[in-house]
Each structure stands twice: as C-alpha cells, then as structure tokens.
C-alpha cells in the first residue's frame, strides 16, 4: 500500500494533438492514494484523452506522466499496468464470446505449468465477485449478460489486479439508479483500501456522493480542483462552461388538450419477454416520460412501437386509426421516428456527413424528379442545423467530428426531416454533457410545443422532471404508476419503479 503522501499518479503540462483537434493543451493532474477524484467537463473537454495518457494507451506530445513517482514514458498499456494503473474505459471493452472469468483476466490469464489454468481462473473470479458482493456466474458468456452486468464485470476487472490507481471513465452512463449504487459502493470500498480512484461522470449528484474532490476540465486544460462537499452545481457548471451558465430548469407547466384523439395510442401491447401488457396515450404537444429500471424493457417498448420488433399482441393506433401490422416502414410513413439508445452503434453513420445523416430518413423530400438534388440536400441540412443549433463547421462535415450532444441532435433532426410527429427518444442524453443536455431538453420542449408528441426514455430519472409533462413508470412489464405536473419527482418515480408493493394497490 502506498504512503498517503506519495502521488499515486501525476500528469504535468500534458499536451496531445489529434489530426485537427487539440485534445489536451497543457493539463495538470495529481491524485493521492486513497483519494476519489472526480473528473468533470463538457463533451470533448479532454477527460478521456487525459485518461488515455495516464493508462498508457497513448503517449503525450509533450509533458510528463508519472505513476507512483515513476515516469511512464512510452511503455504503453503493459507498463502502466505493471505500475498499478487499472482502467475501465468509456466504451465497453469485453470480448463477447468469452466467459466472464476469461474476460476478467483478459491478456493476463493465470497459468499453471505453462497452460491456462481454467480452474484457478474460475476460483479467483468467484473470489473477486464475492469480495465485491456481485452475483455473476464466471462461466457465462459475456454476450449473454445484460449491459449492466457487463459494466459490472468491467469494473470487477479493473479492481481485480489490486491496482494502485483505478480509473473509471463514465462507468455509470449505462446504468440505472440501483446499479449506480452498487458501483459507488465498490468505489468507496476500493478507496478505503488506499487505492487512488479517478472517476469520470457527467452526473453531479453521484459525484457528490462518492468523490472527495472534483477536477474540472475545459478546452484540454484542468481548470480547477474543488472539494466535492462544498461545490455547488452553479459553481461547477460555471467552471465547466467558463463563465456562462445554462443550467436546465423545470419547464413551465402547459395545458395539453386531452379531449382530442391522441397522436399515439397503445392498447395492451405484449412484447415478450419483457413487456407483459402496456397501454398508454400520447397527445400532441406532450412529452411523456417513461421511467423504469434498466432492463425494464423501455427500449423494447419503443422498438415495438416503431415497428422493429413485432409485438405478440395488442394494438397500436396512430391518430385514432389502428395500425394492423406495424412494420418499420409503415410506422415511419405514419410519422413515427425512433432515435436509438446506442448512438454510436445504431445512430450515426460515421463515414457520412451531417447532412447525409439527417436526410437519409427521407430522400424523396430532397429529390427533384427521380434524382436526389445536392442543392436541396444542402438546403434541408442547413435549415435543420439551424433549427436544432447543431454545432458544425458545415452541414457536410463528417458526423464523427461532432461532439456527442451534437451528434444526438443530428439524429433527432433525421426525424424532423422525415416530418415525424411522434418521436420516440431512447436515452437521448446518454453520455452528453450538462450543457448539451439542457439544449436537448429545450429542443424536445420546443418540438412538443410545435405539435409533436414525444416519448422520452432516460436512465437518469432525475432528468424526467426537467423535460416531461407526464411520466409513467414501467415495471415488471406493466405501467405501474403515472405522474404529472408537480407529482413528477425523482422520489415518486423511483418508488414506482423499484418498490413494487407500495404502488400496486
């Protein structure tokens, strides 16, 4: 165990440039053993880049990285690991067709007599899980785990090697409240053992729960480090934005005409295995939040409504007319648009420009006769970029050059282009920074005000009150409760999604 006065990890005046982007511009960072340090900053502030430097994935252009006093040099991941750095990266990095145990020891499989020792590996894996109080069968294929379980396996892997520095890059962005609790618990325990923990997250309240201090990054620099306990939201957001504030506020309550035929009506929809029976109405001008634990089946519900997973039974009605066999194509024609929860894997088309990414939902609208007209594409894209305030140099810039929040706006723009009036937004703010989140809330409210109906799904239940007119809680495949107006509080939603008994009668 390291002495409390020794710096567990240190980066001084580190710079890093990627083609066309200055990701780090002289960042300084220090962390001591036993400390939990949160790293905060907007999308693209350089958090992940700094972490890549600390864990040896990339070498800085200039500056110095030391682990436990020893310079890392260009020793790479292996050297960093030897020095006791263990990292859980932002993107899931498990091998799907290997067992949990093998993933836990990826690249460092225990050997006996020269051969991989599966028995020992299984034993050690069980021990690690037992210690973290996790119940995951080490023999399961990772591909059969839920996203949350996969994330927990990754964290277990990070903890396994008795690291001196544990780095967690947004470990909770895919997790629901109770699982977040498990992660925070693990972090506290690890820190208690004297491990230095670097914790990246966009969720302020969980940072307050677990971190000792917060380092804010902006434009590739570390701006300031403040004690976590005293930091106010305004202060932190101010540091992140460099002066301006744009914290999201509770929207003004609007009256929604519920006497008219709803835009979308779901009756007794059954989508095995998760959705047992769901009915709901979505009116024009309404933002309807769907609360639920991770794995409650909200994504499945949205996909079924959009026609991607055919429901087992039940009815879908659009503006009062029943849709007999909802196919993806039919639902799109009826004005339903779904933005997926996994933006990178299912949302954007990386090699294409922002313009193409938006107009791909409807080429006819930008065609002249049979031909797609470049000038119309440009016009349509420019209009959307303006309407959504997508921050991009030009409409034809490759979408991968945009920050996560702006990519998300472009994906939403895709459905505005198609003229969709019923928007199904699945985790539209996942992995998006505070400011971009506020912009997305505002955008959603504006779209609703313009007559659209929005189903809004988020794992961060605390954002539902900020954007929804009404919230239903999904649990056990059914809608268990409904809240509107001032009743939309985190406590209420949480209670409905977790403590089943209290709601059911």
């Amino acid at each position: 165990m390291t002495d409390n006065d020794v710096l567990a990890a240190q980066a001084s005046n580190v710079t890093k440039e990627y083609p066309g982007v200055r990701a780090l511009a002289g960042a300084d960072f220090e962390i001591r053993a036993g400390e939990v340090r949160a790293l905060l900053g907007r999308n693209g502030a350089g958090k992940s880049t700094l972490i890549r430097m600390l864990s040896g994935v990339d070498v800085p252009d200039s500056g110095d990285v030391r682990i436990g006093g020893t310079p890392l040099g260009d020793g790479g991941v292996r050297r960093a690991a030897e020095l006791g750095v263990s990292t859980v990266y932002q993107e899931l990095s498990l091998v799907p067709w290997m067992t949990v145990a093998e993933n836990l020891f990826l690249g460092a499989w225990p050997r006996r007599g020269g051969r991989v020792d599966y028995e020992g590996m299984r034993r050690e894996a069980s021990a690690v899980f037992a210690e973290l109080d996790l119940r995951i069968d080490p023999d399961r294929m990772v591909a059969t785990l839920s996203l949350a379980e996969q994330q927990l396996v990754e964290i277990a892997r990070g903890v396994r090697g008795q690291p001196g520095v544990l780095i967690l890059d947004e470990p909770t962005s895919a997790l629901a409240v109770n699982e977040v609790e498990m992660v925070l618990d693990v972090v506290r325990r690890i820190a208690g053992r004297g491990v230095a923990v670097v914790y990246v997250s966009h969720r302020l309240d969980e940072i307050r729960q677990v971190a000792h201090s917060i380092t804010v990054m902006r434009d590739g620099r570390t701006v300031e480090t403040v004690p976590a306990r005293d930091a106010t939201t305004e202060q932190i957001v101010g540091l992140m934005l460099g002066g301006e504030t744009s914290a999201a506020e509770r929207p003004a309550t609007r009256t929604i005409d519920r006497t008219r035929t709803p835009l979308l009506s779901i009756r007794d929809l059954v989508v095995p295995p998760k959705i047992e029976s769901v009915s709901l109405d979505l009116h024009a001008g309404e933002v309807l939040g769907i609360g639920g634990l991770l794995g409650a089946g909200r994504s499945e519900l949205l996909r079924a409504i959009a026609g991607f997973d055919p429901p087992h039974s039940g009815a879908v009605e659009v503006e009062g007319r029943r849709v007999d066999r909802p196919s993806a194509r039919r639902m799109k024609e009826l004005g339903v648009g779904l933005t997926p929860e996994n933006r990178k894997a299912e949302g954007i088309v990386p090699l294409l420009g922002v313009d193409e990414n938006m107009v791909m939902s409807d080429f006819r609208a930008v065609s002249r006769g049979p031909a797609v007209s470049p000038s119309r594409v440009r016009a349509a894209a420019t209009a959307l970029v303006e309407r959504l305030s997508v921050k991009t140099a030009r409409p034809e810039t490759p979408i991968t050059n945009l920050s996560g929040g702006n990519q998300q706006k472009a994906v939403i723009g895709r459905w505005l282009h198609a003229g969709s009036r019923i928007l199904l937004l699945d985790e539209p703010t996942r992995g998006v920074d505070v400011e971009a989140k506020a912009q997305i809330y505002r955008l959603v409210r504006e779209l609703a005000a313009a007559g659209a109906g929005v189903l809004f799904v988020s794992g961060e239940l605390e954002e539902l009150p900020l954007v929804c007119d009404r919230v239903v809680a999904l649990h056990g495949g059914r809608i268990r409760a409904e809240f509107s107006g001032p009743d939309i509080t985190l406590d209420n939603i949480l209670a409905a999604t977790m403590a089943v008994e209290s709601v059911e009668h």
Binding site: S246, A328, P340, V349, E356, V372, T397
Partner: protein, 340 residues
C-alpha cells in the same frame, strides 16, 4: 443561448479549421489523381517501349478488355460499398455465356429469347444470393462462394466443356463487334458506367447503399430497408454478369463453360485499387473506372512487353497489394475517427 456558447466551444466542431469535409474530399481526390497519374505514366512508358501499344487497334482492344472487367465491376463496387462481397463473377459470366448460346440454339428460344432468358436468370440467382445474405445473414462470401461453385459446375456440366456455337446472325455479330467504330462491349460498359455513377450519386437507392455500408443498424433504424437494398445489389451483379457473359459469348462466337476463370479477382482488385473500402461505406465509381483502366493497361502492357504469362501474375499480385497500401496510407492520414 446556443449562439454564444458556439463561440466558446473549442476543439470539436469549430476548430478543425480547414474544413474537414473539404479535406476529406481532397484526400479522396488525391487517390484518384494518383491513379490517373499512374495511368498516364504507364502510357508514356509503354508508348515508348512496347511496339504497337499506342496503335488504334490496341487501344480499342484494351477498351474491349476493360469491358469484361468493368461491367461487373460497377455492380461489385456498390456491393462492396454496402459492406458485402461477390466472388461469383467469373463462373457467373461463363455460365451466362453458355445459357445464351444454349437458349438461342438448343433450347430454341431464338437470339432475343436466349438473351432474355440469360438476363432473367442472372437477375434471379443474384437475387437468391442476396436473399440468403439479407434474410438469413449468411455471409456474402459464403453465399457467393456457393454460387461460384454451382454456376462454374453447371456451365461445364451442361456443355461437357464443349463450346456451344452461337447462331451467326446480325444481332450477335453486332454485340461481339463494333458500333460506330467502338467495340460494342465498351459502349455498353460506358453507358452502364454513366447509369451506375448516376444511381450511386443521385438516387435514394444509391445513397441508401452508402448508409447501409456505413452503419447497417443505423440505416435500418432510419427506415431504410437494408435487406431490400442488399437483394437488389446482388441481383444487379447477377444481371451484370449475365450481360458480360452475353457479350463474351458474342465475341467468342460461342458459349464456354470454362471461360472467364479468375475474373472475380480482377474485378475485386479493380474496385479496391479504385479506392473503395473493403469494409464498406466508402467508394466511388470513378475510382473503379480508373482501377479498371489501370489493370487493363498493365495487363496489356505486360503482354506487349513479352513478359512471361506466368510472371504477369507475380507482377499483378505485387501491384494490387501496392496500390491498396497507397490507398490505405492516404485514407489513414485522413481519418479523424478514434480507434479506442
């Protein structure tokens, strides 16, 4: 407001100052310009060293050779852009040449009937392969390997490896000969090039192909029927193979089950040399056109220089890998996408 925050945001969107899309386009053009330069260089070198290279006859002959690769290459370009592959071209062309000859003679359909039958069947087996790929997620390498084996076997089986004579009439003479002094097959190639370049660039279908190859899941969620796109793509290459087979039969005066052996590799090489990503999502027909020209000129030059016909394969292998290396180098420099 967003406007103000836009000014403050640094790295991501605003700063890659020299507009990145312009950069991409420039780099992509770099690849095409490089290829063009290489072709010009080949012309200069071969023109001064290989006797007869610059003669009109030889130039027209090269155009005709190019057609054999090119027509199928237009379709395969789109297939590869969509993230798939088609290795069935050679046997499909040979089998088509047999079909048209048999149809026009032994099966008594007449010349037009034989042609129609061949085109229809080409479309059909292509669509079948596409259906296996789209509906059952059979890897396209395997689906078209199956076609490769089946069509190659059928072409020889139906004919006992004997050439099947075509009727000697004006239609086939025209198809195998020239129109306005240009080889008919070259004309067909150029017309189809225009059609495919237009389709790829200016139709919803063409744009859907790029989206499908770039990210199939996203394309599907955006309402693009990627399954139908794939079926259409493979049906198209089936049709193009049939066209190539008909033109080849007309040129040879007979259908031959063993013809066009290894053509699939030339076609894929031309497409990839032309800068189309084997992983899908990116590529252009202009690039493929240059790739076809490059391969044709080299093949022609090697023969005229009297290079041993076996050694030509060695040269060709080195050139394919070399050209792709250059492409990879160019497009790697261009990539801002992260790897981790």
């Amino acid at each position: 407001m967003t406007t103000s925050s836009q000014q403050t945001q640094p790295g991501t969107a605003a700063s890659p100052s020299a507009s990145p899309s312009a950069g991409t386009a420039r780099r992509r053009r770099l690849n095409e310009i490089g290829l063009l330069a290489a072709i010009v260089l080949l012309y200069v070198v071969l023109g001064s060293t290989a006797s007869g290279f610059l003669s009109l006859d030889n130039q027209l002959g090269m155009l005709r050779d190019a057609a054999t690769i090119g027509i199928a290459a237009w379709g395969v370009t789109l297939v590869i852009i969509a993230g798939e592959i088609d290795i069935s071209i050679g046997p499909a062309v040979a089998f088509s040449s047999v079909l048209v000859a048999k149809g026009a003679t032994a099966w008594g359909l007449g010349s037009w009937g034989g042609i129609a039958l061949t085109l229809a069947l080409g479309l059909a087996w292509g669509a079948l392969a596409g259906w296996l790929v789209a509906r059952f997620t059979v890897p396209s390498f395997i689906a078209t390997l199956g076609l490769w084996s089946v069509l190659g076997g059928l072409g020889l089986y139906l004919t006992d490896a004997l050439p099947v004579a075509l009727p000697d009439n004006g239609l086939f003479r025209t198809l195998g000969g020239t129109v306005l002094g240009l080889p008919t097959s070259a004309l067909v190639m150029l017309v189809l090039f225009a059609v495919f370049a237009y389709v790829a660039r200016y139709t919803a279908y063409g744009r859907s192909i790029y989206a499908t190859g770039g990210n199939a899941a996203a394309a599907r969620l955006a309402g693009i029927n990627t399954g139908r796109v794939k079926i259409a793509l493979f049906a198209t290459t089936g049709l193009l193979s049939a066209i190539t087979g008909i033109l080849l039969a007309a040129r040879l005066g007979s259908g031959n089950g063993g013809a066009a052996a290894g053509l699939e590799f030339d076609v894929i090489a031309a497409v990839v040399i032309g800068g189309t990503l084997l992983a899908g999502g990116r590529g252009s027909l202009l690039g493929t056109l240059l790739g076809v020209a490059f391969i044709t000129v080299i093949a022609n030059g090697l023969v005229l220089l009297g290079v041993d016909s076996f050694f030509q394969n060695v040269v060709r292998g080195v050139i394919i890998v070399g050209a792709v290396l250059v492409n990879v180098a160019i497009s790697n420099r261009d990539r801002a996408v992260r790897t981790v």
